[in-house]
Symmetry: C2
Subunit: 260 residues, 2 copies
């Protein structure tokens, strides 16, 4: 398994996620990127656009995990309250950041859009925070303590996260291997549990799937050590064969399923 | 706004969600259903397949919200530990439930799949819990205290949630209205904030979008009172017109965007 001491959490901020109007895409994106960096995403909280909810969640996650990422609530409208809440969580003031002003001024001069007071609000940054570049729409995110504040719009968040990656220090990257089979979870369960018992350093997950009228099970192995991963995967393949099925090497499998 | 005293939280359990392998679909589904029932989804936590993480999250959410829903971790394999964790959170034992055994025995007799010990584990239910019917694959969920334990597979979870709905008592259903416009968030921000200031009982959200080369803003209004919702929406339409654009009545808009 990846170094369990390098951990992360995400705090997704926004009523539109909780109402079901907007399907969150940021968790899966950040989770995959962190895996590749050897950082374990350990918890995600989704909270409303509510000061006390945001402050409490950010404080709790910041104390517990190596890195925290927030998404959402840093735009120009009245419901964008993340910056003020993060400042409150860290007990600092918000100031109009001169470098952020410079970037936004240049951006709006180029686009011909009025740089009005609402848009200037996006230059308000907690005192002492470092800016995160926004190559798409200029309005920066920021880092304060271990908290990395990003926008909610996936396209912009992704560009900003990728620019930020080099600042994150992870452990050994997590390697993974998926073995699928056309047998039910309940059939493979006993043997799989025995293999997991012998490989405490390999995380083995079992996920039923249903596609094109067939059900089956994807067995996902994750470890930092390639030798241990291979050895465990070979035992899983042997288990599948012993149950009368052929192991299928799967790069990606459907997430939705059936079976058991 | 809907009765703020009837609230809910979801605890999504599973390493596969945090690794980014599986895109969660349960939050948006449950969030929409709860809205229609007049129940406010106030928080979601996603935790690993880890006993202490699950127990702590379920206890915290159970104390704070009217209803809690969990998804994931009730299958037959070693990584399905939700039932034991929920029992621990409530300080009760797990027992092999006779009604659950009856349902599973009948299901597996019909399908011709061996009802082995791993599958019998799905009949283990905390003492005192009420079963939740599973019309798809028989293995029941359960209710203990205010916690409703559901599977992670969306197709099965959805069928079980819909069977459960009649047991949930909400407040006034939340009504919503969306007005879109082809102007940026930053342009509409000041006037929108003023309208929000006059309508404390209407929740107004602003969401930028980008599609087919055009950017714009979706303004989403939510309230329990139809008259107040209509009045606020009419003010939003007037604001859009005053800024030189035509309000677009939108049933559904893309979640991803740009602008600001």
């Amino acid at each position: 398994m990846t170094d369990p001491s390098v951990t992360a959490a995400i705090c997704i901020i926004g009523n539109e996620i909780l109402s079901g109007r907007t399907q969150d895409k940021n968790l899966a994106f950040i989770g995959e990127r962190l895996n590749a960096l050897g950082i374990r995403l350990s918890e995600v909280r989704v909270v409303r656009d509510d000061e006390s909810a945001i402050v409490e969640a950010v404080r709790a996650l910041s104390e517990r995990y190596t890195y925290v990422f927030t998404s959402g609530g840093i735009g120009p409208t009245h419901d964008d309250i993340t910056t003020a809440c993060i400042a409150k969580a860290f007990g600092v003031a918000v100031e109009r950041n001169s470098e952020a002003m410079r970037r936004l001024t240049a951006h709006y001069a180029n686009t011909g859009i009025e740089f009005n007071e609402a848009r200037r609000k996006m230059a308000d940054i907690p005192v002492g925070a470092a800016l995160i570049d926004n190559p798409v729409s200029a309005a920066p995110g920021f880092i304060i303590g271990n908290v990395h504040v990003l926008p909610g719009v996936p396209r912009i968040m992704q560009a900003m996260f990728d620019g930020l990656k080099s600042r994150l220090v992870g452990g050994a990257p997590m390697l993974s291997c998926t073995v699928a089979c056309t047998i039910g979870e309940g059939t493979v369960a006993a043997g799989l549990g025995a293999i997991q018992g012998r490989y405490a350093d390999v995380e083995i997950g079992s996920y039923p799937y249903f596609r094109a009228g067939h059900f089956g099970t994807s067995l996902v192995l994750r470890a930092a050590d390639a030798t241990r991963l291979d050895a465990a995967a070979e035992e899983v393949r042997a288990l599948v064969r012993s149950l009368g099925a052929e192991p299928i090497e799967a790069a990606a499998e459907p997430a939705e399923g059936d079976a058991a």
